[in-house]
Subunit: 293 residues, 2 copies
């Protein structure tokens, strides 16, 4: 970076350039008492970098555009920057510049610049390939619901795990890179498994079949405990919960990496189906609301 210059100067980049931007807005995505400024900075960066993970890209540089209310001081700003810097370090990139402005509500807009020699796309799913899940779905959605219910300081282990999943997600850049040459398609789950599987199915012109038994096997035991408290099923949280920044991919069985768990398969056709325990198939078209209807 050209410190003190008008723009950040990065030098030459090997490979294709991959770009992603994401905003975290107070009152829309979070409330101030839900997480520390440090966690906010780190979370915003992982969330933006997750889009690159799904493409098998490496993160190179980050730009941060902050909006801070008048009552946010130098201490909170430093903490936020510290969270961004440590998240960047964990992901192998660096915050090279940004912008700070005053406004009524906090917001953190993070741009991640990455590179990929052979980016994975969401449109490459092929019939006969497996559907893979990389990471735990549902926990962050459960954590968010707990926060919305005023359970920010819950002490039960299962509750804390869910809160932590929402507060401190990790972009799976390493796993994403290891999918290159193995996966035929990939997407990050930000809108929920059912909805993002729908995006992949549509882009690929294929049908994705999620195997309930296989999906159920991937769920954390703690998710059941919190789901009961929330009066939803763990499966609902898994299918509709976003913000876990888990990766969904497709690929041939013989190429499945050890960190990926098979939760279904790709078929000719369209849409996303859930194959229940008894073999019955239900259409999941874009999220829980449709699933429940």
């Amino acid at each position: 970076m050209g410190i003190g210059d008008d723009a950040a100067l990065l030098g030459r980049i090997q490979g294709k350039l991959v770009l992603s931007v994401d905003s975290a807005i107070e009152h829309t995505h979070f409330e101030r008492d839900w997480l520390s400024p440090e966690a906010l900075g780190a979370r915003a960066l992982h969330s933006a970098a997750s889009d690159l993970a799904a493409m098998g890209a490496a993160a190179v540089a980050v730009l941060s555009a902050l909006v801070l209310p008048a009552d946010v001081g130098a201490r909170e700003l430093r903490a936020l920057g510290k969270g961004q810097a440590s998240a960047a370090k964990m992901l192998g990139c660096v915050v090279v510049g940004g912008n700070i402005a005053r406004g009524r509500d906090w917001s953190v807009t993070t741009t991640v610049i990455g590179r990929a020699e052979a980016p994975i796309r969401r449109r490459g799913a092929q019939s006969g390939h497996e559907l893979w899940l990389i990471g735990n779905v549902g926990l962050a959605a459960a954590g968010l619901r707990l926060l919305e219910m005023g359970q920010a300081r819950a002490r039960k282990k299962a509750f804390k795990l869910c809160l932590e999943a929402w507060r401190n997600p990790r972009a799976q850049l390493r796993e994403g890179k290891l999918l290159v040459g193995r996966a035929s398609a990939a997407i990050d789950i930000s809108d929920g498994l059912a909805a993002d599987a729908g995006h992949m199915a549509r882009a690929s012109g294929k049908r994705l079949v999620i195997d309930e038994v296989a999906l159920d096997r991937t769920l954390a035991p703690e998710l059941y405990e919190v789901a009961e408290f929330l009066r939803v099923t763990a499966l609902d949280l898994a299918l509709t919960g976003g913000e876990d920044y888990v990766l969904l991919a497709t690929g041939p069985a013989r190429r499945r990496p050890t960190f990926a768990r098979r939760i279904g398969r790709v078929e000719d056709g369209a849409g996303v189906l859930l194959e229940r325990r008894g073999g019955e198939r239900m259409v999941l078209s874009g999220g829980f609301d449709h699933f429940a209807a």
Copy 2:
């Protein structure tokens, strides 16, 4: 761009990568009745691209992160996108992706990705070089003051020119590229001529001397008319007014391009001085407040 993918996919970039991000926030930088959504989109893009102009970089791609209040509908969003797209086209780049979120106040955060073979820095000013101005300073600041005074629909030609300068600035990318090989240092004037000259002086370890007579010669006649109405001097507006997205550069006299106007010179020393008509020198350290004191 990989339309519909998680991140925008750009391909390979020739030259060094240059990055810039800038936010326009409602109630901080603008009010809704000051400009149309289309002008807002275009203005935000030019403003972010101006940082690249100062480095002699070309703009390649743009990411747009929008925050929209609940009462902003599809029509305004389309208009804003249209403004962004036409500004991008004018600047030779393309909007490749973005993010839209709800929030209490409008905001437009624009990231511009550019490339430069030989970026100009703000730290290269050399003693004996001239100080060049590229563009008209003061008009946008006058326009902003008119807007703050409720003169959004002023009809006098001079007033309209100032309003237009604030509403529809143009990033001087073409001029910036033509400075490569001619200028020893460059910066875009976003904080005001005196303040940004201070940044350049500090980065270069030199003194910049602004020649009042020469600067005065560059000012638009309309600026005097509006300055009188605003009860400030045209020189104050020129020295302290930002948001014109004018370029300030230094270089040897024999290399001055036709579009650049000489307004001073670089000397050994530190700080920014204004050399008055009578030869008296005043220290301008960071803006009008200090200048006036």
